[in-house]
């Protein structure tokens, strides 16, 4: 299976301070790939590099089989983009914007655009500048979907929108994906939304990739364990030990990753007992992952 987006050893440094370091990302065809990370971690910069808006200092970016930014126009014909901030002319009406966009894409589906206008309950004659935030987001998603691209790149598409609008947008997005089998690259803060729709998840922090795994692996692999009687120093563990804190007088709480049920057999081996295995949802797992990643980086540089 080929990857729709492949980033290899990317370095990008716009100036002093912030830099994307040694970034490698692989988005499989047909996947819904979620991109999580705190503010300032480099999510939007990565998206701009994928779209050819920025040029990296070193490393390769391959989108839909072609190189970015060299083949940008060819690639962009097949990529639908929904930015974080509305980037369209506020003095044009919705219909005028749709007609403008349609002229640039040979694959444009006018019927789908008309159907989405109805589905989103948008008035074609209203000026874009006069639409509410949610309506503007709907227009931008409409443009990306009517374009019939093979890849959708969405930068926080539902951020700051009310739940009803979010539902409408996600429903339209998922309908499109199931119909066309397009891949989706979506960066978002809304962890519970990412949890529902993504089958791959990548986490970024401070310009680096923390992890890139299938969603099930991150969700099911991250657990909180109640452990009693464990020695102070441990040898290698079969799971990834993120954190270890005292909980009660007798027991500790361990936060682990890459957990499998068979690993329960590890504890008698070190003279400890595993009292409980508690599931962590993606949000908690994400927080723990970041904590341990930052901790290990600090230790590494010490």
């Amino acid at each position: 299976m080929t990857n729709v987006i492949e980033i290899d050893s990317l370095h990008y440094r716009p100036g002093k301070g912030f830099a994307l370091r040694d970034l490698s990302i692989h988005v499989p065809a047909g996947a819904i790939y979620g991109f999580l990370g705190p503010n300032g971690s480099g999510k939007t910069t990565t998206i701009r590099l994928v779209l050819g808006l920025l040029r990296p200092q070193s490393g390769r970016i391959t989108v839909l089989g072609d190189r970015m930014p060299d083949d940008a126009p060819k690639i962009l014909a097949r990529v639908g983009y929904v930015p974080e901030q509305p980037h369209l002319d506020p003095t044009l009406t919705v219909n005028e914007i749709v007609r403008f966009q349609a002229a640039f894409y040979p694959t444009w589906d006018g019927a789908r655009a008309a159907q989405l206008l109805r589905q989103f309950d948008l008035d074609g004659e209203r000026l874009f500048g006069r639409l509410s935030k949610g309506q503007k987001a709907k227009v931008m998603i409409l443009l990306a979907l009517a374009q019939q691209g093979d890849l959708l790149v969405l930068d926080e598409p539902t951020d700051g929108l009310d739940p009803v609008v979010r539902r409408d947008i996600l429903a339209a997005l998922l309908e499109y994906v199931s119909q066309r089998g397009a891949a989706v690259f979506i960066s978002s803060h809304l962890v519970h939304e990412i949890e529902r729709i993504c089958d791959w998840i990548a986490v970024m922090d401070d310009g680096r990739l923390v992890t890139e795994v299938p969603m099930e692996q991150l969700k099911n692999g991250t657990k909180r364990l109640r452990v009693a009687g464990a020695p102070a120093t441990l040898g290698p563990t079969p799971f990834a030990l993120f954190a270890r804190e005292p909980a009660t007088a007798a027991a500790e709480t361990w936060v682990v990753g890459e957990w499998k049920p068979e690993m329960a057999g590890y504890f008698p081996g070190i003279g400890a007992s595993l009292q409980d295995v508690i599931d962590l949802d993606l949000e908690d797992g994400f927080v723990e992952l970041l904590r341990s990643f930052r901790g290990s980086r600090r230790e590494g540089s010490a």
């Binding site: 779209l51 506020p90 005028e96 002229a103 640039f104």
Partner: protein, 218 residues
């Protein structure tokens, strides 16, 4: 693609185009006012020439204004959106710029045609004193060229990124600085005057704005 570009360009610049067209049509007619009499003596011919010449100074102003505003209108929405929309369209940057430039140029043809129409009408309804001839086509051509130069220059400036504009300004500033230092050091080094001559002088690109804008002349 060109059609939608033209449509949006029209939507942004229609006011300036309409006003410019009215002005462009009226200017030749007004400049020829009171020239309907055949029995002019040589003194009145002089008066006519003076009137035509003084009104004539408005042509370069109108050409420059049209070029400026249409160029600005072409780029204002892009600048507002930080060019994100344009840069994510599936065509190379130079092609996009060409489409924009061409759509503005097409619209600027309208006031240019109005100058010609006004000039033809003005000279058709006037009876010129002997010794004077009318040059409506020359005037219209002069106007088209001036508008084109103004539009080209302002388009390039508007389309440039802040960095390019900065480079241009820095180069100009450096030249002036060099000139000043040379003057202080009493070195016989004059670069500004020759450059000014080249740019604004008779052979330069901006020469088109100088000179006489005469609908009628000897």
């Amino acid at each position: 693609m060109f059609r939608v570009m033209l449509y949006t360009q029209w939507k942004w610049s229609r006011l300036i185009i309409l006003l410019g067209t009215v002005a462009a049509f009226a200017l030749p007619i007004i400049s020829m006012q009171g020239a309907a009499h055949a029995d002019r003596n040589p003194l009145e011919a002089q008066d006519l020439l003076r009137t035509v010449q003084s009104w004539g100074t408005l042509y370069p102003v109108l050409a420059a204004a049209l070029g400026l505003f249409v160029a600005m209108a072409a780029w204002a929405p892009d600048h507002r959106g930080r060019h994100v929309h344009a840069l994510t369209l599936p065509l190379p940057r130079w092609r996009y710029m060409l489409l924009r430039c061409a759509s503005g140029a097409v619209l600027l043809a309208i006031p240019a045609a109005a100058v010609l129409a006004g000039a033809l009408l003005a000279t058709a309804t006037a009876t010129l004193p002997p010794g004077l001839q009318s040059y409506p086509f020359a005037l219209a051509t002069h106007f088209v060229l001036a508008t084109a130069v103004a539009y080209g220059v302002f388009f390039a400036v508007s389309a440039a990124t802040a960095r390019t504009a900065g480079i241009i300004l820095a180069a100009v500033g450096a030249l002036i600085a060099v000139q000043v230092v040379a003057g202080v050091a009493n070195v016989d080094f004059d670069i500004v005057s020759p450059l000014t001559m080249i740019v604004l002088g008779p052979a330069g690109p901006f020469a088109i704005f100088t000179g006489r804008w005469m609908l009628v002349d000897v």
